[in-house]
């Protein structure tokens, strides 16, 4: 044992020397590189002022961010409430999201049996409620969209601008019986074209909180005079189109 110890130390010393030498050498390389940088002023034009780069190489400045130090806040997956929210995205599409609490599932099982949940199909029922309300539900037209138990939101292509919709999420049994679990708010899809309604209504606002409204359905100058008289304003010479409507 004692024979090997000096050998061991000897090797160790040689090893350390080698390492130190290598590190120093590397440093030296770096030093020489630095010192070989041109000392001439940068303004000298024989040096390119800019290297030719291309805009596409640079792209939009969205640099890599340093990693956030704190773990990001995560939001709850569920809030344990019952809700079915409907939003109109554009003239043709609706978006809905929902959450069905365990309480509703339990109630369903109580009413329809312990296996009823598994034996029924989750369905979105879309009602066109334009110009009506839910009191005459049985008369309303609807479309069913079968969904799965794994989803909790859906884009619905209704394809109908300027209509009002309400939806229900429910379970459909094989015999076609539908049980409503939740009903949404009512939304209207926006128009996608010029209105067909070409009759005009005009409003005169002198002061927002002193408004007088008048309808120009009837083509009679007398009405105009009457209105003008009531308002104490002579319409002639005032370039408000309302006073010309019935002549055109």
């Amino acid at each position: 044992m004692t024979v090997f110890l000096p050998w061991f130390f000897g090797f160790l010393i040689i090893f350390l020397f080698t390492v130190a030498f290598l590190i120093l050498k590397k440093r030296k390389v770096i030093f020489t590189l630095r010192s070989s940088l041109p000392k001439a002023p940068l303004t000298k034009l024989d040096l390119p002022l800019f290297k030719e780069e291309y805009a596409s190489d640079l792209t939009v400045p969205s640099p890599v961010r340093p990693q956030p130090q704190k773990p990001e806040e995560e939001l709850p997956g569920k809030y344990n409430i019952d809700r079915l929210v409907l939003m109109a995205r554009d003239p043709y599409w609706l978006y809905t999201y929902w959450e069905i609490s365990a309480a509703i599932q339990e109630e369903f099982k109580t009413n329809y049996g312990p296996f009823a949940w598994g034996q029924s199909q989750p369905v979105l029922r879309i009602y066109d409620v334009t110009g009506t309300n839910f009191e005459k539900k049985s008369l309303l037209e609807y479309t069913d969209i079968p969904i799965s138990d794994q989803v909790d939101d859906w884009y619905i292509q209704v394809g109908q601008p300027d209509r009002s919709f309400c939806i229900e999420v429910g379970r459909k049994f094989q015999n076609g019986h539908f049980v409503t679990l939740l009903r949404s708010n009512v939304v209207s899809t926006p128009r996608a074209s010029l209105s067909e309604q070409v009759d005009e209504e005009w409003m005169w606002i002198e002061d927002l909180y002193h408004t007088i409204r008048h309808q120009y359905g009837v083509s009679s100058p007398l009405i105009e005079e009457e209105i003008a008289g009531r308002m104490g304003i002579v319409p002639l010479g005032i370039s408000s189109p309302g006073f010309y409507v019935s002549h055109t």
Binding site: R65, M87, V198
Partner: protein, 533 residues
């Protein structure tokens, strides 16, 4: 009377990007860059016009988040530091580019940054808002507001109370800093849905803007198309954007900003120059960023770029201003024959387009205003309030739900990249409304917690986050802002319910997310109605 009216509208907004926790927060630079490149240059334009006795009328919407950043002492100090740094770099650049084709441009930047520092510190005493107020008080600007944090209102209408709170906050901030009630509002992203106008009316807001089809596709066919406003049944006026004038300025391809003589946005020395040289002026972590110093002109459609020549660019700005005016004159003269009143051309733009993106934009605006005043009498500049005073009788129709986003409706803020936020936003909003209703007279710690929950909610509602997710730019930032503000609302509301408020944590939130110190949780109460008496 002129043959037509032109309403130029500049919408000024940036999301609230104040990060006391980190001196070098990348997103805070959005604010600094916009101040240097857009807001201060626009104030200089107004100053020159006023000095030369050129009368003009412009509409500017100042978002409450932007006003809050303008008036925040920490951001003011940091902006000053930012200016010092960029001036130091500009000074170096003047030396480095000596005898090169870039030297003149380097001198231009040096001058501009020094001017910015002078304006910011000496002229406005760091209160940029005072600059806008000045030209508002002098009668040149009609300043309107926009929802508190630029909330996208159509998708918030599930809880109308939160839409009302956005507006109440906006009106309060406007009144605090401009001394008057805002006469009208810029709806974030021109996002409108029926019912929003009823809430605007509660706050005596007389008008808002929609995209072209918002007015064109109204419930009754508008007699004058978008060339006159319509009244919603509530009596609030809707002004529709005119397409052609927008495209000429907006479009990067067909529009003026893409002209080859204008400055190239994507060649910034923050990316172009040697790392060791530029290191002190980019992010301390070595992330290359825009410095604002850009030496090239657009040059052409290829990647080859030539040095910027400011005279050429200035000349083009004048030519383009003339062209814009000429086209509007033709339009006005033509429409005038078809209408019984002079047509109104509404031309709204994001203000940050001018100066930041389109470097010569403020100059173009200045030339345009001068030309309109000196060179012709077909067109007259007008603001919505002026117009409604002159033409108080307008057609009644319900505008069409719409936005100026991609495809014209709500898809930009509601698609597969961001739809998940709404279940959280709506839940948080419902919690807020419920708590506001159940605490009619909160005081002390509870009151502070309720107010802060309101602040966190409006911050989470910024349309900017959904937009960034949609356009896939700075997504991580948008995600982190959405999540952190929402979880703050959830935690606060839970603590209020349990009557166990963590005061230390609440205080830290109050100082970190310090926006709208006057926000009052009672604005979320279902029966809340403003009282301006």
């Amino acid at each position: 009377m002129p043959l037509g009216f032109l309403a130029l509208v500049l919408h000024m907004h940036l999301p609230y990007v104040r990060h006391p926790e980190n001196e070098h927060f990348l997103e805070e630079r959005w604010f600094y860059e916009a101040v240097t490149e857009t807001y201060l240059p626009l104030l200089q334009v107004f100053e020159r016009l006023v000095n030369d006795n050129v009368p003009f009328r412009l509409t500017i919407s100042l978002s409450p988040t932007l006003i809050s950043m303008f008036t925040d002492p920490l951001l003011q100090q940091r902006y000053d530091n930012h200016l010092e740094k960029i001036i130091e770099l500009a000074d170096k650049e003047v030396g480095r580019t000596y005898n090169s084709p870039f030297h003149k441009t380097a001198l231009m930047y040096q001058h501009r940054f020094r001017q910015a520092r002078y304006l910011f510190n000496d002229v406005y005493q760091r209160q940029i808002i005072q600059g806008f107020k000045k030209y508002h008080d002098l009668g040149y600007l009609e300043i309107i507001t926009c929802p508190a944090t630029h909330g996208y209102l159509p998708l918030m209408m599930v809880q109308p109370e939160t839409v009302r709170a956005q507006i109440a906050t906006a009106v309060d901030v406007h009144r605090q800093y401009l001394g008057t009630l805002p006469p009208g509002i810029w709806l974030s992203e021109c996002g409108y849905a029926p019912g929003i106008d009823d809430l605007l009316k509660e706050f005596k807001l007389r008008f808002f803007f929609t995209d072209t089809h918002g007015v064109l596709f109204a419930s009754r066919r508008p007699r004058f198309g978008v060339f006159a406003p319509i009244y919603c049944p509530s009596g609030v006026a809707a002004f529709g954007r005119e397409v052609e004038s927008s495209k000429q300025v907006w479009s990067a391809r067909e529009g003026y900003p893409g002209d080859f003589d204008y400055r190239e946005f994507y060649r910034d020395i923050g990316f172009d120059l040697d790392y060791d040289y530029i290191k002190p002026y980019i992010h301390p972590d070595g992330i290359r960023i825009n410095t604002g110093i850009k030496y090239y002109r657009i040059t052409g459609t290829t990647n080859h770029k030539e040095p910027y020549v400011s005279e050429w660019a200035e000349n083009k700005a004048a030519v383009h201003a003339g062209n814009f005016m000429f086209n509007r004159q033709l339009q006005a003269a033509h429409l005038n024959k078809l209408m019984e009143r002079p047509p109104l051309i509404v031309a709204p733009y994001d203000a940050e387009l001018f100066g930041h993106w389109w470097f010569e934009g403020p100059l173009w605006l200045e030339y345009l205003i001068r030309k309109i005043y000196f060179d012709q009498d077909t067109l007259e500049l007008i603001t919505p309030s002026d117009y409604l005073t002159r033409f108080p009788c307008n057609q009644v129709a319900r505008p069409c739900a719409s936005s100026w986003g991609n495809k014209g409706y709500h898809e930009t803020w509601l698609n597969q990249t961001n739809d998940w936020i709404y279940r959280h936003l709506h839940f948080a909003a419902a919690q807020m409304v419920e708590l506001a209703n159940s605490h009619p007279e909160a005081y002390g710690l509870q009151r502070r917690a309720l107010d802060q929950a309101g602040r966190e909610l409006v911050l989470a509602q910024s349309s900017d986050w959904a937009f960034m997710m949609s356009t896939r730019t700075t997504v991580n930032y948008a995600l982190s802002r959405t999540k952190s503000h929402l979880s703050n609302v959830l935690k606060l509301t839970a603590q209020i319910k349990e009557n166990h408020i963590d005061e230390g944590w609440l205080s830290s939130l109050e100082s970190k997310n310090n926006i709208f110190p006057r926000l009052n949780y009672s604005w979320y109460q279902s029966h809340y109605r403003p009282d301006f008496s």
